[in-house]
């Protein structure tokens, strides 16, 4: 529970305006979605585990409602239903409060957060991925954070391909995912030794999973299943585009970022800024989502956490 007063409120508003003006310049239309909706929507949109972090309550007629724990679910349904006739791609942006209970990370969690977000629906391929990455980079540099942000990118299909190749049952897959996500090298070694198949070894050197292009070439020696290789190719192609835009200093490949596998279907990204102890934004490709609402099509997007950005920039102003 947080108050913003005077200068801080102005700063927060400026950050929001900056982001929204960058979105507008890239032809993203603002969308305002209901803050209270039926809980089913969010379970379809986010998956049960995430949706259950929302605040839930019942209507007079007994139906289960929720304060929106995310905006993407609503936008995806809107695209699939209300706007099904509109020509693709659709570009939407928003600055909206989301509400969550139960911390995933104690440091990150607030009951309410304002997300500055965008969704590009109906656009696939690298052009769409690159577009949202450039948008995120442009917003951060317009906020004068150009020397202090890092965006990490990964393709979740690299891990999914390895897990499928190892024929892991769901619990073992989750265990492997967690060990890679927390970089528990020693435990990971023990886990992988139990398999004759050696592809899991690619994840054994966590310090070599984060970096620039060489990260990809390094794991190519170990990972050979078709699904992962296709994802590696795709990630490398994206990296080439990032390099040619001169943005390589601001981006890192992080193959061990496997935190939200069941949501994303390709690119995943996280935004880090000096001065913030947790990530200040995240996003990726979620081609499976709109299908839940009756119209499967590619989609990609990200959100930045306005409250976290305000905190970083406010501290920076007082330190100058």
């Amino acid at each position: 529970m947080r108050y913003y007063i005077g200068a801080e409120a102005r700063l927060r508003r400026t950050i929001e305006d900056t982001a929204m003006s960058v979105f507008a310049a890239w032809s993203y239309e603002e969308v305002i979605t209901p803050s209270v909706d039926y809980y089913d929507l969010f379970e379809q949109g986010m998956g049960q585990a995430e949706a259950q972090r929302g605040f839930r309550f019942t209507d007079n007629d007994g139906r289960l409602l929720a304060l929106r724990p995310d905006v993407t679910s609503s936008v995806a349904r809107m695209a699939a239903t209300l706007l099904s006739e509109r020509p693709r791609p659709l570009r939407f942006c928003y600055a909206a409060l989301v509400f969550r209970q139960q911390p995933q990370s104690h440091a990150e969690w607030r009951r309410e957060n304002t997300q500055l977000g965008c969704e590009l629906i109906g656009g696939g391929g690298h052009e769409a991925d690159l577009e949202v990455l450039r948008l995120a980079a442009e917003i951060l540099s317009r906020l004068n954070l150009q020397s202090s942000y890092v965006i990490t990118i990964n393709n979740v299909e690299i891990f999914n391909g390895v897990a499928a190749h190892l024929e892991l049952p769901a619990t073992a897959r989750e265990q492997l995912r967690r060990l890679i996500d927390t970089r528990e090298t020693a435990e990971l070694q023990r886990f992988i030794n139990g398999f004759s198949n050696s592809e899991g070894r690619a994840f054994l050197q966590p310090t070599q999973l984060t970096g620039k292009r060489d990260v990809i070439s390094a794991v190519r020696n170990v990972i050979t299943n078709a699904r992962s290789v296709a994802a590696l190719d795709s990630l490398e192609e994206l990296w080439t585009a990032i390099e040619s835009l001169g943005l390589a200093d601001h981006f890192e490949i992080d193959l061990s970022d496997v935190s939200s596998l069941d949501y994303y279907t390709g690119l995943s990204l996280k935004v880090f800024v000096h001065g913030a102890g947790t990530s200040v934004g995240r996003g990726g490709r979620y081609d499976g989502l709109t299908g839940n609402f009756g119209r499967a099509e590619p989609a990609v997007g990200f959100v930045l956490n306005l409250d976290a950005l305000t905190e970083v920039l406010a501290r920076r102003m007082t330190n100058v």
């Binding site: 104690h106 440091a107 202090s148 927390t182 528990e184 090298t185 310090t207 984060t210 880090f272 102890g277």
Partner: protein
């Protein structure tokens, strides 16, 4: 500069000795002082000494970039951290102990468990479907069965001497605990070079290599 939070107590001396072998040295007089924040000889690392349970808190919030703390504390805190290195120091076990080993099979109602580790104990018995009442204590847990406060305890055991002297035996082992290097998720990306360097130096020291 990298800030490292170190758990005071059992972990502290082992951690500093290991760091010294990895080439991160703290001057003798500073180490013997009672200051809670120190800088190493090279000026690249700052150490803060905090209670074990506070290490995950400092690191998760990014106040400290790294920390050295036991797995027992991490299991209990449920903090969202990276754990790139097992330092193998301060090795001990988290066990279930009782005065009467047969209590587990004889008492089928509600067992009372005294512990400092309510999360670990709750998860352990919960996973086995054993109904327990957890009694949270903050120290001298071994006393609880003798005084009738609890049937069982869940606690850390190094040599087992304290248990024996209080008439307790180990009924079950929950997990082994050693000191871990933990890293803040944002620092891992934003100070990647410095942290990779630290991890590698510690790895070399652990594998018996000399100091840099």
């Amino acid at each position: 500069m990298i800030t490292i939070a170190i758990a005071k107590g059992r972990m502290q001396d082992d951690a500093l000795a290991l760091l010294a072998r990895a080439g991160v040295r703290v001057a003798e007089d500073a180490r013997n002082s009672r200051r809670l924040a120190l800088t190493d000889d090279s000026g690249r690392y700052r150490f803060i000494f905090v209670k074990p349970a506070d290490v995950p808190v400092y690191v998760e919030h990014g106040i400290a970039d790294c920390g050295v703390v036991g797995r027992d504390v991490l299991l209990e805190s449920q903090a969202d951290l990276l754990l790139p290195l097992d330092l193998g120091i301060a090795r001990c076990r988290i066990v279930v102990a009782a005065a009467d080993a047969e209590i587990m099979t004889r008492n089928l109602g509600m067992l009372r468990v005294a512990t400092k580790y309510s999360q670990i104990a709750g998860a352990h018995f919960g996973a086995r479907g054993i109904p327990v009442e957890i009694i949270q204590l903050s120290g001298s847990v071994e006393l609880a069965p003798a005084l009738g406060l609890a049937d069982l305890i869940v606690d850390l055991v190094e040599t087992g001497r304290t248990l024996r002297e209080n008439g307790l035996t180990v009924v079950d082992e929950i997990a082994e605990s050693t000191g871990k290097l933990v890293v803040n998720r944002a620092s891992y990306q934003l100070k990647a070079d410095a942290i990779t360097q630290l991890v590698k130096a510690l790895e070399t020291a652990l594998n018996g290599g000399g100091s840099v």
